[in-house]
Symmetry: C2
Subunit: 358 residues, 2 copies
């Protein structure tokens, strides 16, 4: 390789995406009414006031999962769930999907049957149909799902609409998935992802808490009803789903909202599950909140709510089957700041989350 | 692995697809007006008399290509072209696409720039826009494209409509891609795919013929104008694109048409390029026609034309930028028969094409 020739791994995912946008722009200037790359999903005008919403996600063995560490039914569920989560984050109603599968020839058919079972049972529950796909030979398992949804008259909720003063909300609890992954990895004798997340040996044993956290990692629940309600009732000004960790994903929402947009998060308000709280160790960084701040794959919704719409949200609570928590506020000062329990603030910079190519 | 536990590789792609259909049927009975798995693309009702046509294809390094044997611009072109070919085979007008990319961290950025250049230049030529995607880390390069098109009032041409007496037509020339791949592989010191396809050493040297065949393999040209014309003018009763070889793909068209449907192919009518004819050796099986019969990745259109519509086709010839050849006829006798130059017939059974998991 030539000196100075950089690689995909050296520049990382965000720079790669920017590079793609630059190249793409030469070939296709933006088309009005059509939201392309840069949100959870693309929005395409359809009949009447409907819009087609499309998202695609790829899972690769060795990168996103190790085949021995997730049962096939969970992988089937998760492959579809993470795409449903993208549609939830747009406030769309899912409709149908397409599945491209790369499979090693040595894979037992029983594995595939369980994978399909996990995928199709979630598809039935979410009322989406498999309409096509491709199946090819591959050394590593690859699952690529493309999912269609529609807005049915409600405007899709993009990442761009957040304004200073809007309150930040999150669904469910944070950090469970990352803790579940740590438990799975350490049980299988793998290196911890984060050495700072000390865990007593007992935490790795079978327990209700461990099972809960592992399940949160392996079977994320797309927040479709909540996302849809927020769109229909015009409660959320901006929304995305948490795939790479709260700080990274919040930064995306801020970047999409404009150069001056920042946020303040209250640590004491971060919603933590009972299992998380039981497991938390005094030495974990940021007052034990590190997994909630940077842990990936929670697939909860992060959304901004203008103060005038907060009463509508409050009046409807408990109708979506998942709790909703206010965790902070958007500010006119750029950057993300963390308000500690003692009232002091610290910048969040330096606490990083998942980076796809590092 | 348990004794008697079968693998993906043991059952092969067709059995795998049937297994998927069986499993799927438990969860989602067929929906009227919505064509799902089993054709070149899915057809979804849209506004008015329009339909959304969607196809997805995945290319994996090591299975579909070797990164050292295809330049990145060609791979970018081909990844999109094979999906455009699926839409051509439905008679649809392509609209937009979604790209999921698995990339090794060690991949040079220059590789990616060339890949995008190849993909986006074809996208611009075909007037399709990239609207979304996903980029992930992967040990092997994986390219998954999902492409949308629309029928704009013309009925999509499915695989199912062929009837005994319909004439079989094919676009372009056959077998070039397979010969191109043989040249590429042997140039790189790889094992021939088919030992019976003897080639003089001179055939592997740089020449116009070799360059033509390699180009046919690396840069397939989707037959969009022809496919669209056939749909708009209701000339084709059934159609698909040739991805796995004439005999395998014809068998799919016959199977889709019903249990009694068969075909007779006239060897003397198979359209062969000048480069193919120059390279052909006397010892190649089936009178030198083996690559044309079983070679994969031609991405030409195979279609059936009712006799009453043949004059319309004949009157329009030479308006699609590609030749169209009648190669045989559909019969009420099941199976595929080959009519030899001396007038005798032989069954095609036993001559096989590409099998994805073998």
């Amino acid at each position: 390789m030539m000196a100075g020739e950089r690689t995909v791994g050296e520049v990382g995912e965000l720079a790669l995406l920017q590079r793609l946008r630059d190249r793409l722009h030469r070939w296709q200037p933006t088309e009005p009414g059509c939201l392309g790359i840069g949100d959870d999903a693309a929005v395409i005008p359809a009949a009447g006031d409907d819009q087609l919403v499309v998202t695609t996600d790829m899972l690769v063995a060795g990168t996103h999962f190790r085949p021995g560490e997730i049962v096939p039914a969970d992988l089937g569920h998760k492959s579809l769930a993470i795409n449903l989560s993208d549609l939830a984050a747009m406030g769309a109603v899912p409709a149908c999907f397409f599945l491209a599968l790369g499979l090693p020839p040595s894979l037992p058919l029983a594995w595939l049957d369980e994978f399909w079972e996990g995928m199709f049972s979630l598809a039935a529950a979410a009322d989406v149909r498999l309409l096509g796909g491709d199946t090819v030979r591959s050394a590593a398992i690859v699952v690529a799902v493309t999912l269609h949804g529609c807005t049915r008259g409600a405007a899709a909720v993009c990442r761009t609409g957040g304004r200073p003063g809007d309150r930040l909300y999150v669904s469910g609890t944070l950090g469970d998935s990352a803790l579940g992954l740590e438990i799975i990895t350490r049980r299988h004798g793998g290196q911890p992802f984060d050495e700072r997340l000390t865990m007593p040996a007992a935490a790795l044993e079978d327990s209700e808490d461990a099972a809960f956290l592992v399940r949160r990692h392996c079977r994320p629940e797309p927040r479709l009803a909540l996302g849809r309600w927020l769109a229909e009732n015009r409660v959320a000004s901006a929304m995305l789903d948490l795939s790479d960790g709260l700080l990274i994903d919040l930064d995306r929402l801020l970047t999409a909202g404009g150069p001056e947009l920042g946020a303040e998060l209250e640590l004491a308000r971060l919603p933590l599950s009972a299992a998380y709280r039981h497991l938390r160790q005094p030495e974990w960084p940021v007052a034990g909140c590190l997994p909630a701040l940077v842990g990936g794959e929670d697939y909860e919704l992060l959304f901004a709510v203008p103060p005038a719409r907060e009463p509508v949200l409050a009046a409807a609570s408990s109708r979506w089957g998942v709790q909703v928590s206010r965790i902070g506020v958007l500010t006119a000062e750029p950057g993300i700041r963390l308000r500690l329990a003692d009232g002091r603030c610290r910048p969040a910079a330096g606490l990083s989350g998942f980076e796809h190519f590092s």
